[in-house]
Symmetry: C2
Subunit: 343 residues, 2 copies
């Protein structure tokens, strides 16, 4: 029996080794990334922080990774998805409150949606805020979720004619999965609305609601007529999760400093500084949109066209280079941008 | 070979079954609980929500459990631990700012700490707030963590003469572990300070910082002279995590409704209502301090002595009974209260 068992075990072991090799090939990390300094920096960081006994080992509970969303995980041009949501909710809003049809800025939005693109220029930041408050507050948390989910299922990006949730960057989806496979907890830390992003983050990125940190409005606890409690979304800003608000929001919601953080614009600068200033191995990265053909090109860093949506200034670029942050070139570092390209 | 292998497999299987039975005995859940309706309610809830294909099955990602801390997970009498912290930080504060030694309420605290117990009566809620702001804000997040950690290592509870972190309830520690072993994410949702509880929650309860929701003050991002970024704790209330603030805080920080929630006072009422109002299996529980001998007895529910610290009113008791919440009697439901008792 012993000899037979030995043979069985040997062939079993050979099978396991063969299987493991197959799995390793199948799971080669970051397949949509070209070999280069950005891919190498990520791979080296993960190896260093997960090598038990190594000088840069990070215990699993401290493995926190944070990602900006707009322009870092998915397309933000020509306009942030959530702003499109607020604008496209206006017709339903006007239907329930017809008196708004002739009131600015709601009338301007109606013109815009009827094809008058010049109307967009008329909208000020104060107008956008007014529209945001009218479309994002005053309803129960559950009603908002239903409305946002429905819009996301139907709305299409003007260029690709695809749902916004399909316009995530495949290389970044791979980074999310690769970090999670190595024990990192992946957080979204976005200037976008926390409740909005939570509606799709789990399905779209594998990031659960409790790992979405975003610009947050308050809620108010109350009861229905028959005594059932519910939360109403209020026009009260609890967290402005942009600029210095990002490290402040990270402290509020996570309570630990990230070991790795990804951004793409000046709104991410403080998060990347804060990450990099921690002890031990820390990696800060910026996605540079330098691929007009496959996606968009904007900066104004490195002579790219200027933009108000996701600005990446030369000063930010210089800070990155000075402090050892990694700048990811969409054009050079990414083999493909979207998963539908590779099909 | 086949027959031999079969024998091997059979004996292996027998071994596994024997081992599994041993593990099951060793891991019998909630050993510090007496058999009774409270223990039964918890066991039945967990079985129902984790039985795949069952009518009350809850998918793992939705398994959220929330726990009040003071009076639910650890002793809150004669005074909340964090209030003791703030009071006992006053000498160090006065040392760095000697002008405070003769200024109210700091002089009153010094008298109190020098043994004048009557001085406690002089302190108003406004005084406590003033002391809290002076001892909890104005320093970096890291400095606060060092100060709190040091105090926790040295401070002793006046009755048991043990560190506060040893005065957690063993039956509740078992519930935390039991729920986690069944795929629940366990959160602390406390009226206490979020940053304070985070200092010890991971070691004391196995609850990481990102799963502590508490009363939260804001922070402010800034730079040291040599350009290193840091966060300063500010006297700005971001979340008052009591009463209606608990469900509001749960929405802000977790974004999902708990399936099971534990509290012990009127400050937990809204969290328990909100939990119970969700769809499917939901369980709300209240710890009743009815054991003057082993811990404390206070209500004023059910004729227990009244208290300002962790008030459990008769109205709350009646609401619990009316709505099918479970009231846990410390006296009848818990075999032991503290882990040091059973040694």
């Amino acid at each position: 029996m012993q000899r037979n068992l030995k043979i069985t075990l040997v062939s079993l072991a050979a099978g396991i080794i063969g299987f493991a090799a197959t799995v390793a090939r199948a799971q080669e990390p970051l397949p949509s990334w070209n070999d280069g300094p950005a891919k190498q920096a990520i791979l080296e960081f993960v190896t260093a922080t997960t090598t038990q006994g190594g000088p840069q080992f990070v215990p699993p509970e401290a493995r926190i990774a944070t990602f900006d969303q707009d322009g870092t995980l998915w397309v933000e041009h020509p306009m942030y998805t959530q702003v499109m949501y607020c604008l496209e909710r206006v017709p339903a809003l006007v239907k329930s409150k017809p008196e708004l049809a002739k009131v600015a800025p709601f009338n301007t939005v109606l013109e815009l949606l009827h094809g008058d693109r010049a109307a967009m220029e008329k909208l000020t930041l104060a107008d956008i805020e007014k529209i945001a408050i009218a479309t994002l507050t005053g309803m129960s948390v559950e009603t908002f979720q239903v409305e946002a989910r429905q819009w996301l299922a139907e709305a299409k990006h003007p260029r690709w004619k695809k749902p916004y949730t399909e316009l995530t960057y495949l290389p970044m989806q791979e980074v999310l999965k690769y970090l999670r496979a190595n024990g990192y907890k992946t957080y979204i830390v976005t200037g976008g609305g926390q409740d909005f992003v939570r509606v799709y983050a789990e399905q779209t990125y594998g990031v659960p609601p409790e790992q979405v940190v975003g610009t947050a409005l308050g809620t108010k606890y109350g009861y229905t007529k028959d005594g059932k409690p519910f939360l109403t979304k209020e026009p009260k800003l609890v967290l402005n999760d942009n600029d210095a608000g990002k490290p402040e929001g990270i402290h509020l919601m996570i309570g630990r400093r990230p070991h790795i953080a990804f951004g793409n614009s000046t709104g991410d600068q403080q998060m990347l500084e804060y990450t990099k200033a921690g002890d031990g191995a820390r990696l800060s990265l910026l996605v540079l949109h330098d691929d007009a053909e496959r996606e968009y090109a904007y900066g104004p860093a490195e002579g790219l066209p200027d933009t108000k949506v996701g600005t990446f200034t030369q000063a930010l670029y210089d800070e990155a280079k000075k402090n050892g942050w990694t700048v990811i070139s969409m054009k050079n570092d990414w083999k493909v941008i979207f998963s539908f390209e590779s099909k």
